[in-house]
Amino acid sequence: MLIKNVFKRFGGVKALQGCSLEIEKGKITALIGPNGSGKSTLFNAISALITKDRGKIELEGEDISRMVGYKIAKKGISRTFQEVRLFKHLTIRDHLQIAISDDESLIKSFLVFDGISDKRIQEVLDRVHLDKPLGTFVTDLSYGQRKLLDLAIAIAKPHTLLMLDEPVAGVNPRLRKVIKEVLVRLSKEGETLLIIEHDMNFVMDLADVVYVLDEGRVIAHGKPKTIQKNKKVLDAYLGE
């Protein structure tokens, strides 16, 4: 994926000021920066949840800049949110059936019963180590379990790029380890990941490439070890 010169302004606030990134296939790319640096805005601009003012976004050579949100998702972008977004009246099974199925035809679904088996859904849950009955309503899950389900949904949805917004924010150390293992395994399987994360140790351990954003601009990018020594980064973010 190529993100070229993306601008976004909210009234007088310049959220993104010519942000450019290149996300390599099969690698884990991390996006870090202080609060308000534009990370989540960039995620929202990529997935067209907000309209950017300028700039170009390409996915596998195709310009997706002007596409609407659901078409971008159909093209293969799967994402999670900083605040877990689940359908509050639906079960785990419902969530994964929606994520896995790429069919929204009324007539077909009227005539044919669900083609997605519980076995397939269970396989996805096993990948994220979520051990709960499929009929459990999401309101009956703990925060950590909802975080895992959110990750499972993003993995289950057909995709070429997985964008995770703070996947370990607010979770306990044990769960953080589980999520880290899941992400490492996904990377080994050849998945392309773009991650926003505040936990520096987590990012530096996991990422192949790190981009640092400050005031809506990329101020540095490179391998984690290089980034850790970059003066601009230390000044803007790490403060060490």
Binding site: V68, G69, Y70, A73, F87, L90, A99, L106, S109, F110
Partner: protein, 290 residues
Amino acid sequence: MLENYIIHIAILICIYTIFSVSYNVALGYTGLITLAHVALYGIGAYTSALLTRAGYPFISGILLAGVVAAIFGFFLVYTTRKLKGDYLAMATLGFAFVAYSIEINWTGLTRGALGLPGIVKPALFGFRIGSNVEMLLFVFIVAVISIAIMWRIVRSGFGRLMEATRDDETGVEVLGKNAFAIKAKAMMISAFFAGIAGSLFAHYISYIDPGTFYLTEIILLLTIVIVGGAASMRGSIIGAVLVVVVGDVLRLFDLPSVLIGPSRHIIYAVLLLCVLLYRPRGILGRVDLI
């Protein structure tokens, strides 16, 4: 006499069951806070009445009643696609006002306040329904078929998408599903069956005027759905039985006719308030509307 009265109530229950279940498809299952459903019901009634008065067979009248209402349903969703919650409710209320104004002012088509009298009883395959018992059997069959179709839809994969759209439209879009298309289809299904219910009502009562589909009717419909419970078909059926019976029971008392109408609305309002205060999800509701 009492037998005829019970049959009349049963026919109304069947019609209101189709009407309220169709409303629940839009409101409870898809989260479309619409107040235009009575207008769609009226559009169905007028379409069917006008067609049969022009000499077209009943079957084309009832089917086109559904189709025309569905087209208006699409129009409604399309024009209000950027609105949600209270704003959507207000816009759809505006649509209901416009529909009422057209019904009362387009006298060349609807005869305005004079209404359309002499709407024929349903006739199918050369058999014309004459008695109320036959009418009851007919509306009961139509109600069973309509509810079976809507039940299948809400229990299908598409129904799951409707519920997901109600809970979080952005979440649906992020999963690659077109939330607008889902809402439009759900509204069209809902409007189609509201149109069918309107047609049945017109052909049963044999007279309609704009007042039949005035905004006060939305209170009745909301009462049925809220008392029965949002996103519950069984709830809507129970709600329809309860509200129609409670509303009509006043006839058994020797009240002056000028008091029956307002008293009925007071009963609906009290019922609605009690449910909202003490059992916000209604009898069998699965979701909170607010």
